[in-house]
Amino acid sequence: MEAHNRDLYLYERLNARVLGVSMDDVITNKYFAQSLELEFPLISNVLPWMGKAYGTYSEKPPFRPDGSPNWFGRRTVIIDKQGIVRYMKDGSPDNKEILMFLLKLEKEFQGK
C-alpha cells in the first residue's frame, strides 16, 4: 500500500489509477487509510464478490464455520482501458515490475 502511495505520481503519468479492495468495513478502511496516509481510494467489499471475480476467493465461503471471516489473499490486478485483465500476481508485488508493465501498456496504447 505504501509503495503504491509512493509511486502515485508515476501511475498518474502512465494514465493509471489505483484502487485498493478490502473485506474490512468502511470505517476500518477509513482509519487504515488515514494511518498509512493513503491518497488513493479503498473499496470496502465485505461480501467478497470482487475477490471471487478476480479469482482470489474461489471455492471459499465468505465466513468460516466459527463465523470468522475467510479473508481472501492479496492479489494485484491491472485492468486496461478496455476492461481486460492484463496482469495478475499474488502476494506483495514489486512495484518496479508494475511500473514497467504500465509503461508497456501505455506504449501499446499509444501504438509505439
Partner: protein, 226 residues
C-alpha cells in the same frame, strides 16, 4: 585358422571406423557441452570492488567508503526492504550490534520532506516494540541534496533493550531516499560512537554512479509523452 574373405574384412574395418567415429562424436559432443556449460553459466557479479581512492564500488551502481572489514555486507540484489547495508556484531550481551543501510524506498509516500519525516517516525522500528523518541531534527544538505537528519532513541523495558538511531531522509529528484543507522544495546550498557562515525563516512562519501530505476522510468515516460 579361419579364413577371412574379403567382404568380412571390409565389414570389420567399417565397424571399427564406425565405432571410432561414434566415440569421436560423443567425445566432441561432451567437450562441446562442457565448454558450453563453462561459458553459459552466469558469473556471480563481484558486489564490492575496492578502488585506489579508498572507497568501494557496489556493483556498478554506487560508490562509498565502507566500514572496516569486520562489518558484514548486507545486500538485496533482487529488491527487498533496503538496497544495501552493513552489520557489526559487537562485544557484549545481546543485543550489541549496529546496522546501517541505504534504503531507496523509506517509509511513507509523501514527497514533502517535512511530512515524510513526520510519518517516517511513526513507522520506524514499529515492529520492535521500542518506544522511540526523536531527540533532534535538523534540516541540512547531504552531498548537495536537501535533507532532514533525525536522531532517535528508543527503549523497550520489557525486553531490556534500547536503541540509538540516526536517519537521513534525502531528496533525490522526485523521490526521497534514506540512510539509516541503528545501534542496539542492553538497557544497562552505554552506546558507542565509533559505529556512527563509520556510518557518517558512508553517507558523506555515497555517490550514485548511474541513473536509478525511477530516474530511468521518468525519462522513458517523458520520451513517450513527447
Amino acid at each position: 585358422m579361419k579364413k577371412i574373405n574379403k567382404e568380412e574384412s571390409v565389414e570389420r574395418k567399417m565397424r571399427a571406423v564406425w565405432s571410432f567415429a561414434t566415440w569421436g562424436v560423443l567425445l566432441v559432443f561432451i567437450g562441446v557441452l562442457s565448454f558450453g556449460c563453462a561459458t553459459i553459466a552466469p558469473e556471480k557479479p563481484k558486489v564490492l570492488t575496492a578502488t585506489d581512492r579508498g572507497i568501494v564500488v557496489f556493483l556498478d551502481k554506487y560508490e562509498f567508503k565502507r566500514p572496516p572489514e569486520d562489518w558484514a555486507l548486507m545486500k538485496n540484489l533482487e529488491g527487498g526492504d533496503f538496497e544495501l547495508g552493513f552489520l557489526m556484531f559487537e562485544r557484549g550481551e545481546f543485543p550489541s550490534q549496529t546496522t546501517f543501510i541505504y534504503d531507496d524506498q523509506p517509509y511513507g509516500g509523501s514527497r514533502d520532506l517535512e511530512k515524510r519525516a513526520e510519518y517516517y517516525c511513526t513507522r520506524f522500528l514499529f515492529n520492535s516494540g521500542m518506544d522511540v523518541r526523536v531527540k533532534k531534527q535538523e534540516n541540512l544538505t547531504i552531498n548537495g541534496r536537501e535533507a532532514i537528519a533525525l536522531s532517535l532513541e528508543g527503549e523497550n523495558p520489557n525486553r531490556k533493550e534500547k536503541t540509538k538511531s540516526k536517519v537521513y531522509l534525502v531528496r533525490k529528484g522526485n523521490r526521497i531516499i534514506s540512510f539509516v543507522c541503528t545501534q542496539w544495546r542492553p538497557l544497562n550498557t552505554a552506546f558507542s560512537q565509533e559505529p556512527f562515525d563509520h556510518f557518517e563516512a558512508f553517507v558523506q562519501s555515497f555517490k550514485f554512479l548511474k541513473k536509478d530505476f525511477y530516474e530511468e522510468i521518468e525519462e522513458k515516460i517523458r520520451e513517450l509523452k513527447g
